[in-house]
Amino acid sequence: MIRVSVQPAPIDLGTEIAGVEAKGAGAIASFTGTVRGDDGVTELMLEHYPGMTEGALVALAEEAMVRWDLMAVTMVHRVGTMEPGDRIVFIATAAAHRAAALESCTYLIDRLKTDAPFWKRERRGDSAIWVEARDSDAAAGERWA
């Protein structure tokens, strides 16, 4: 079971995790990325490429389902305006055994960083800048090739 959502609404962990657990797997791994509050960011804006984004996330989820024999994958990404502490992304995977769940969860967030069309703009008070892509993210994505 694959669930993908690109949404302006806050990410509800209770609902998302319950959906993944409902598949009866023994092992569920999750990753949550939040807007950090420790570097002066007052607001984060997430832009994306409607249509392509959803397709890219579904493609990644399908790859992970096959590669690790998963029972469920959920990928939720928020778009629009967020504040420090808000959840940006939530990924959960369910499998019979823990290694499959944990590895595939790492795979999905690594690949999402390089293969899904999202762009972050950070506001600090009156100035706003587009976040630059990091070489370390490209390297993390490539190690799964």
Partner: protein, 81 residues
């Protein structure tokens, strides 16, 4: 054409219809050709190596042929997650 993030801001629009000549064969050609449309285009598309592209909603390198693409997008490297 679709533009995102600072490319969209530079061009001044997120979307426009274009009809490039036959000499425009790949993404790099398209960027050069689009750069002539306005000072905003010229500025935003000045450094093609800083741009990424998608053809019909799939990532494509600068030397990818446009073929009969219906939707081409230009944007900075992605920064989601």
């Amino acid at each position: 054409m679709l533009y995102f993030a600072w490319v969209r801001e530079g061009v001044g629009s997120g979307e426009e219809q274009v009809d490039p000549p036959e000499a425009v064969r790949n993404v790099a050609d398209l960027i050069d050709w689009l750069a002539q449309r306005s000072p905003g285009h010229a500025e935003a598309l000045r450094e093609p190596t800083k741009l990424r592209a998608a053809i019909d909603q799939r990532f494509a390198p600068l030397d990818a042929l446009l073929g009969d693409a219906r939707e081409v997008a230009l944007f900075p490297p992605v920064t989601g997650g």
